[in-house]
């Protein structure tokens, strides 16, 4: 099994590229959990719907990639606000179980509606990025992978600045910290919740558009969101930096395991790795690396 350092770096780098996607998806989850304490099981469906929508806008209506992406992102934001208003707001104050179940219900509803609207065929996304791989310091990466990394970095930077310096971002952090105090300070938590769902769905849409570039577009794309669960668990459910570090770590680990163990054991290990990692983290460190510790003693 001696493949040398260059093989390791190659596997590592493509792991980072996959990890960026996981990080983007995890970011969407974490934003919602942080502000509203809801794990949105319908996140994968938004990713899949955005990917399919972007494809259809380009293939059927001949939009250019940029306009299609922009329209998709806007529709996703609208969908997020509507979801919050009509599905989640009636559930305010209900037990966690009911809220989790309602997002699961939403997820299978959206998935089957997407199946009805878009069909079950596999589509190949007309990628706007050049096909030739790029060689950087002995590592071969595709243009898409490089763009994924750049866009993730830009989005993360925007979020950082937004949460740190803007009025809205501060209000969001305040709401996440303590809802009642935020209300007393004159923050409209209703509007904040709607905004948070909108923003989270936008990150899902961006992730979906990039996934469409790297994978075959079909209904099965929802599964990628479930693969991002280990990332948010590793990072801790409520931590934005945790989501990004968790996403990158899971991407790298998955690729390393796939790169070194798959030839030995033979296929299938790569797909299960994130879940085995998730299970191990839950056993050892249930609140992740940066999560809020809830101490409970009897």
């Amino acid at each position: 099994m001696e493949k040398g350092l260059s093989y390791f770096i190659q596997v590592f780098a493509s792991g980072i590229a996959v990890g960026c996607l996981y990080a983007l998806i995890a970011l969407g989850f974490v934003l919602i959990i942080k502000a509203t304490d809801i794990l949105n099981f319908a996140h994968g469906e938004i990713i899949m719907i955005s990917a399919l929508l972007c494809y259809f806008l380009m293939a059927k209506f001949h939009f250019s990639f940029l306009t299609a992406a922009l329209v998709t992102v806007m529709i996703a934001a609208l969908l997020g606000v509507l979801t919050e208003r009509f599905v989640l707001r009636p559930m305010l104050g209900e037990p966690v179980f009911a809220v989790v179940m309602i997002t699961i219900g939403l997820s299978i509803f959206l998935r089957s509606m997407a199946g009805i609207t878009f069909g079950h065929d596999n589509y190949v996304f007309p990628t706007p990025f050049p096909k030739e791989p790029v060689h950087v310091a002995g590592v071969t990466l595709s243009m898409t992978q490089i763009w994924v990394m750049i866009c993730t970095a830009i989005l993360v930077a925007i979020f950082f600045i937004f949460f740190k310096y803007s009025r809205m971002g501060l209000a969001m952090r305040g709401t996440a910290n303590d809802q009642e105090t935020a209300l007393l300070m004159g923050i409209s938590t209703k509007r904040i919740f709607a905004m948070v769902w909108g923003i989270a769905f936008v990150t899902a849409a961006v992730a979906g558009i990039f996934l469409a570039n790297t994978m075959i577009v079909n209904i099965g794309l929802t599964f990628v969101a479930i693969s991002a669960f280990p990332a948010i668990i590793l990072g801790g459910l409520e931590s934005v930096p945790g989501a990004i570090i968790g996403g990158l770590a899971i991407g790298v680990m998955e690729n390393l395991v796939g790169g070194y163990l798959d030839p030995v054991i033979g296929g299938g290990v790569k797909d299960v790795t994130p879940f085995v990692i998730l299970f191990l983290i839950l056993m050892v460190k249930p609140y992740g690396l940066f999560g809020k510790k809830e101490i409970e003693r009897v």
């Binding site: 959990i33 794990l39 599905v87 009636p90 559930m91 209900e94 966690v96 179980f97 009911a98 989790v100 179940m101 309602i102 699961i104 219900g105 939403l106 997820s107 299978i108 509803f109 959206l110 998935r111 089957s112 509606m113 199946g115 009805i116 479930i226 669960f229 280990p230 668990i233 459910l237 296929g267 299938g268 797909d271 299960v272 879940f275 085995v276 998730l278 299970f279 839950l282 056993m283 249930p286 409970e296 009897v298």
Partner: protein, 350 residues
């Protein structure tokens, strides 16, 4: 002497009796006689639907024990059903064992895995538990596909025909009695379990785990017990499913199935045995209702003809979960109880 009317109970025993009044016994007997003679007058499709309902009822009761009674969210139920179904398939077709060994082994196998999953999941609650069990379900599904020497992988596996005491159950009518008896046994067993100390301990853990522990309920033991019993019942349902279908495939046991079972117990009513039965039968009938409705719509608007497909059923499950959670959290069982009370108390409101 007080006149016995409405809800009048003198002891705790009366409160937890299985059949509260003489009328309930009469109705039960009528219901059972109707069910037992069904193959004589029912049409084959109805029998097939009831067979399917029996399997779903058993699995739904198993899930309700864990989710509704003990309050532990589980998205791994399809995995336990799958383990049961594959155990039955392998034991019956490769080892040729009789049905009762297969069914018990399915239950036992699932229970062992359930116990093994329950112990690490003790520390987890709510969201974390949902994610852990969901990933367990995904892992089991992958194992079923990858371990093709044992499970047949994506080709699926055949289940040997079931025969009871040398008498082959080769038609839906004959299977009907077998499924009905197993279902009745499971319902009776669980119904009895939840009115004992064990059942009350489960409910105490669901309502407030810390308080339960203070009252002397051993949380560790009872949580593991809930996982074990729930997966035992799921394993038996898996065995019944295998025998009924005659052929099983990893695609039958995806996470979607777990969600469907959660939909059943939510629509039926969490934390009640009757609710699981209502929910299971209702969800089995939903596709039929949608089919009938779409035929009606196509009759009104010819342009909609041929628009129906399986996808609408799944959409309906999702929509049902959302609507029931928002508008009727107690489920069908709550509606049933309200109707019953208002009849019982008529003409008074309370």
């Amino acid at each position: 002497m007080a006149i016995r009317s409405k809800t009048f109970r003198e002891s705790y025993y009366e409160d937890i009796k299985l059949f509260q009044t003489i009328w309930i016994r009469v109705w039960m007997v009528i219901f059972l006689v109707l069910l037992a003679t069904l193959p004589l007058w029912g049409n084959p499709y109805l029998i097939y639907l009831i067979n399917l309902s029996c399997i779903t009822v058993v699995a739904a009761i198993g899930l309700n024990l864990l989710v509704g009674y003990t309050g532990q969210i589980s998205l791994a139920h399809s995995a336990f059903i799958a383990i049961g179904a594959y155990t039955t398939a392998i034991l019956s077709s490769k080892a040729g064992l009789p049905f009762w060994i297969c069914l018990l082994a399915s239950g036992g196998m699932s229970a062992a895995v359930g116990c093994a999953l329950g112990i690490p999941c003790l520390r987890l609650k709510g969201l974390y538990l949902a994610m852990a069990t969901m990933s367990f379900g995904v892992v089991v599904e992958n194992v079923l596909i990858t371990w093709d020497k044992l499970t047949g992988g994506v080709r699926g596996i055949h289940v040997a025909k079931i025969s009871v005491l040398g008498f082959p159950l080769d038609s839906d009518n004959k299977l009907f009695y077998f499924l009905l008896i197993v279902t009745a046994l499971v319902i009776l067993g669980i119904k009895n379990l939840v009115r004992t100390r064990v059942g009350r301990a489960f409910i105490a853990i669901r309502d407030r785990d810390i308080a339960a522990e203070v009252m002397g309920v051993n949380i560790t033991a009872y949580k593991v017990m809930a996982f074990t019993i729930s997966s035992f019942v799921a394993g038996i349902a898996g065995g019944m499913y295998g025998y009924t279908m005659g052929y099983i495939h990893p695609e039958h046991f995806t996470v979607l199935l777990s969600i469907q079972y959660l939909a059943m117990i939510i629509v039926g009513g969490l934390g009640t045995v009757l609710g699981s039965i209502f929910g299971a039968v209702f969800i089995v009938l939903v596709p039929e209702l949608i089919k009938a409705f779409s035929r009606f719509l196509a009759f009104l608007i010819p342009a909609l003809k041929g628009q129906y497909n399986e996808e609408w059923n799944i959409a309906a499950f999702g929509l049902l979960i959302i609507l029931f959670l928002i508008f009727e959290a107690e489920g069908l069982n709550g509606i049933w109880r309200r109707i019953k009370t208002s009849f019982k108390n008529w003409p008074y409101t309370y």
